[in-house]
């Protein structure tokens, strides 16, 4: 087990308003989320001395403008003018989960006391994946000439392999989309809060990239979320009950850039990340009371459930049936609505919900008797990270 388990905790969490398109510069959303997280902790902004983010705009073919389409560490430093700032980082690999892990490390190293991590996401005007140019450079020279572009297709091809190798039926995925939407009705910050989605809606929706229909894809939005992380002893003195980080991991496998469609690469990414998390925490899938698993595209949840060890390969679509992912089910899943219902803000919202469930602060959607709360914060292969939050340190 990890000697540093439960030494760092998530304290406050914050949310900006989530809109379909950009009405104000993205920096305003990021600031709103960060101020919300700091206030939730009962801290003042001037107490913050660590900053971390993953600022990437995952849309292609759009201008990257700091403060408008991304919010970098520099942008946040300029806004907050932190007199006590002592540490910051902007990560490149493994998405926002990597920024959270770096903040954990910085707190353990004692180079900051209260770190804020935010994820701000822009929804550009026009086509999200504006692909590509007249010429296909780099790895895309082997994919773009064939009409491949954007992460959805890469995940869709692996999904057909999964479906047909395991003799499975894509219609079973309706359960995921519909249940998550129902969960989101108890999450006032979610983009689709209050908008119903039925099984028939799912089955009748237009196809995007078979086997993905519209409701297998998260909706691009403009918004931001943020958390305050601090050491366990400091967290206990703050207003919210802490969610202790019992372990984390990151994907250790990576295939050559441009390799597309490999189902085994998703599985290896998820296995390597979760193996670290189980070993560090000393826990196993059967100990988990509630799980948040990244769902930018629905099939990510399948790869997550299987590669993290919650069920066997080929069984994930059966696993989520029969009420198993409901709030009172065997493994309540994506209890905040997931990206499919909150909108595309990447994995920090999954991390937030994992922490809220562990600390008993999830309100109407709180799962009963949670001690162990699991998070898979990104698609397992490309950017996968995993976390375990616990209510009681051990």
């Amino acid at each position: 087990m990890w000697e540093h388990r439960c030494k760092v905790a998530v304290s406050g969490v914050g949310f900006s308003r989530v809109t379909r398109s950009a009405e104000v510069p993205l920096a305003a959303h990021a600031l709103e989320a960060v101020q919300g997280a700091v206030a939730d902790s009962g801290l003042a902004v001037s107490d913050i001395d660590g900053l971390a983010t993953y600022p990437e705009l995952p849309a292609t073919g759009h201008a990257v403008v700091d403060g408008i389409t991304i919010v970098s560490v520099n942008c946040m430093m300029a806004m907050l003018k932190l007199s006590n700032l002592s540490w910051h980082v902007q990560v490149e690999t493994v998405n926002i989960g990597g920024a959270v892990q770096q903040a954990v490390n910085a707190l353990l190293a004692g180079v900051c006391r209260y770190a804020v991590v935010w994820r701000a996401m822009h929804n550009p005007k026009g086509t999200y994946q504006n692909l590509p140019g007249t010429y296909a450079q780099g790895p895309s020279q082997f994919t773009a000439p064939y009409g491949f572009g954007g992460p959805g297709q890469g995940m869709a091809v692996a999904y057909t392999r999964w479906l047909e190798r395991h003799g499975q039926d894509r219609e079973k995925m309706a359960t995921l989309a519909v249940t998550q939407r129902r969960h989101s009705h108890k999450n006032p910050h979610a983009y689709f809060c209050g908008q119903p989605l039925t099984r028939e809606d799912y089955l009748n929706s237009r196809m995007v990239a078979y086997p993905f229909c519209l409701y297998d894809c998260d909706i691009p939005v403009q918004g931001a979320v943020a958390i305050v992380l601090t050491t366990a002893d400091r967290a206990r003195d703050l207003r919210p009950r802490p969610a202790y980080i019992a372990g984390y991991g990151q994907r250790l496998a990576f295939e050559v850039a441009g390799r597309i469609g490999s189902l085994s690469s998703y599985m290896e990414g998820g296995r390597s990340s979760s193996r670290l998390t189980w070993e560090r925490s000393g826990l196993s899938p059967k100990d988990v009371d509630v799980a948040q698993i990244y769902d930018g595209f629905s099939a990510s949840v399948i790869y997550g459930l299987e590669s993290y060890g919650f069920c066997k390969e080929g069984e994930a679509l059966d696993f989520i049936q029969e009420g198993r992912m409901e709030l009172d089910g065997e493994l309540p899943l994506n209890t905040f609505g997931g990206s499919l219902s909150t909108g595309r803000i990447h994995g920090l919202w999954h991390i937030i919900e994992g922490a809220l469930q562990a600390s008993g602060r999830a309100g109407e959607r709180q799962v009963e008797d949670v001690n162990v709360s699991f998070v898979g914060a990104s698609a397992p292969i490309v950017q996968g990270t995993t976390f375990i939050f616990v209510k009681e340190p051990y």
């Binding site: 086509t127 994946q129 504006n130 692909l131 590509p132 140019g133 007249t134 010429y135 296909a136 450079q137 780099g138 790895p139 895309s140 020279q141 082997f142 994919t143 773009a144 000439p145 064939y146 009409g147 491949f148 572009g149 954007g150 959805g152 297709q153 869709a156 091809v157 692996a158 999904y159 057909t160 392999r161 047909e164 190798r165 237009r206 196809m207 995007v208 990239a209 078979y210 086997p211 993905f212 295939e255 050559v256 850039a257 441009g258 390799r259 597309i260 469609g261 490999s262 189902l263």
Partner: protein, 168 residues
């Protein structure tokens, strides 16, 4: 060197819109495909394709084929890599049917099958392609396919795939 595969070079017109289910044929005639930009690792692939040969990068130390090309052998880390012809026979490893064009220049072909092919001679190498000369509904994991060559312009020819002769 093994004997070169027969070059199934297509004329620069789209495949005829005939067959078992014409309504499920994708219309490629109005699609403008992005043009590949070779680099030092990938140039031999495109040069071979222009000659009607499917050639993949092979480690000269452990004989492992890999695609896309890379600086080192992803199996044994050797740097002595060369392109060698493969037969062009393979199976559909995975596929998607595109109903939404991220690249608007593909809009006219919708719906169309983008497939991932695992060549018989190069297990583990995964090639993107379109399923040509067949309704997109014929794309299924495990189906046998064979390479055909689709000229893109005077400089570039795309390796593509169609259902294998004995399975059509």
């Amino acid at each position: 060197m093994t004997s070169l595969p027969r070059a199934n070079i297509l004329a620069r017109v789209p495949e005829p819109r005939t067959g078992p289910d014409v309504t499920a044929m994708s219309d490629w005639s109005r699609v403008t495909r992005p043009i590949p930009v070779p680099n030092e690792w990938t140039k031999p692939f495109w040069e071979a394709a222009k000659r009607g040969v499917l050639a993949l990068q092979r480690c000269q130390a452990c004989k492992h084929f890999q695609h896309p090309p890379y600086a080192t052998c992803v199996r044994c880390m050797a740097t002595d890599l060369a392109f060698e012809p493969v037969s062009g026979a393979g199976t559909i490893y995975a596929y998607t049917i595109m109903y939404h064009a991220g690249d608007k220049r593909f809009a006219a072909a919708i719906p169309y099958a983008s497939i991932i092919v695992e060549p018989d001679d190069a297990p583990g190498a995964l090639l993107a392609a379109n399923l040509l000369e067949a309704p997109y509904t014929e794309a299924k994991v495990g189906r046998r396919v064979e390479v055909v060559f689709q000229p893109l312009n005077d400089d570039f020819t795309l390796p593509q795939f169609r259902l294998a002769r004995d399975t059509r």
